[in-house]
């Protein structure tokens, strides 16, 4: 006997993600899910971004790591409220899921928030698969990785709404071909806006900050 089911395996996560999205929309909060491999400079990019945004924009951050609250401590110095999720309680999960975001979001005064940034676990595979109810996804690639990363991890670059190529201050010292990296991103996602910047020197920050401000206003 065959029992038909026709259900998505990740349905529980998707249902929670839709609830999150509805709640964030009602509260008029722009939620940005920031993803990358470990060491691409997500935290530094977000720290500098928040330092620029914070007086104008009321922002909060949820940061995910397997262990430690090192990133939360760094980001708190920007003045934003930060909630750290450690997934070792969940068996060292490789991604943040919608229910973790729902619980972490309860720590914020949502009536008083314009922007909620989620710094996902450093991983170019699994976070791409899990909707958390965000408004937009951003992927960060850095020039100390390979130009072909977008082709190796196509889902991440396909689902992203924008991309950052970070650490461009190091370009003179590396053999990294920035044009090739950008071309590869566009092969996977032809219409994606790509911001070339350095979190260290803040070169190239203006278009990125403008993109966030436009997204928050929308």
């Amino acid at each position: 006997m065959e029992i038909p089911i026709q259900k998505k395996v990740l349905e529980a996560n998707e249902t929670q993600a839709q609830k999150n999205r509805k709640m964030f929309k009602e509260k008029n909060i722009f939620v940005l899910n920031v993803m990358s491999s470990p060491g691409s400079g997500k935290t530094e990019t977000l720290y500098k971004t928040l330092k620029i945004l914070m007086p104008k924009i009321k922002a909060g951050v949820i940061v995910g790591d397997i262990c430690t609250r090192n990133d939360a401590d760094r980001l708190e110095a920007s003045g934003a409220q930060v909630v750290q999720i450690n997934t070792d309680q969940f068996g060292g999960d490789c991604h943040l899921s919608a229910d973790m975001i729902e619980k972490a979001a309860r720590c914020f005064d949502l009536e008083n928030l314009d922007l909620l940034i989620v710094e996902n676990i450093g991983n170019l595979v699994c976070p791409a698969e899990f909707d958390i109810g965000e408004s937009a996804k951003v992927v960060v690639l850095s020039v100390t990785e390979g130009e072909d990363k977008p082709l190796k991890y196509p889902l991440m670059f396909q689902v992203a709404d924008a991309a950052i190529l970070n650490k461009i201050d190091l370009l003179p010292y590396l053999d990294f071909n920035a044009k090739e990296a950008v071309d590869n991103m566009l092969k996977v996602h032809p219409t994606m806006p790509i911001f070339l910047l350095s979190a260290k020197t803040q070169e190239g920050f203006e278009p990125w900050i403008e993109w966030i401000l436009d997204s928050v206003k929308r």
């Binding site: 065959e2 089911i5 259900k7 395996v9 990740l10 349905e11 889902l155 032809p190």
Partner: protein
């Protein structure tokens, strides 16, 4: 990397779908659809499923996986093609927007019970 969680969800969904009035049942097969872009490693999924299914009604059940190819549609010229690599731009409208219409599936289609 999250195959253990996926296997657990599969088992929860399969068990919830079995009518309560069936007694002495054995699940023979789980029919799944897995898209080529789904971030799931098949060997790892089978391994995790086998371990978690032990001591449940799904112990020993076969995982029958239908692999779904990646199909992409160009939003500019409406062309649809099968992508067998990571390049999703349309051959005609190079920088136009595209959408993935299949290849991200991770679905339980049905379960089959032994007669």
């Amino acid at each position: 990397m999250h195959e253990m969680g996926v296997a657990q969800q599969m088992i929860n969904i399969a068990l919830a779908s079995i009518p309560a009035d069936i007694v002495n049942l054995k699940v023979e097969r789980l029919n799944l659809k897995v898209g080529k872009l789904a971030a799931v490693v098949e060997d790892s999924l089978r391994f995790c499923f086998e371990i978690i299914a032990k001591d449940s009604l799904l112990d020993g059940a076969e995982l029958a996986i239908e692999h779904i190819p990646v199909k992409v549609r160009c939003k500019v010229c409406d062309a649809i093609w099968e992508a067998d690599g990571p390049i999703f731009s349309c051959q005609k409208c190079k920088d136009g927007a595209v959408e993935i219409i299949s290849g991200r599936e991770l679905e339980i289609v049905s379960i089959e019970l032994a007669e």
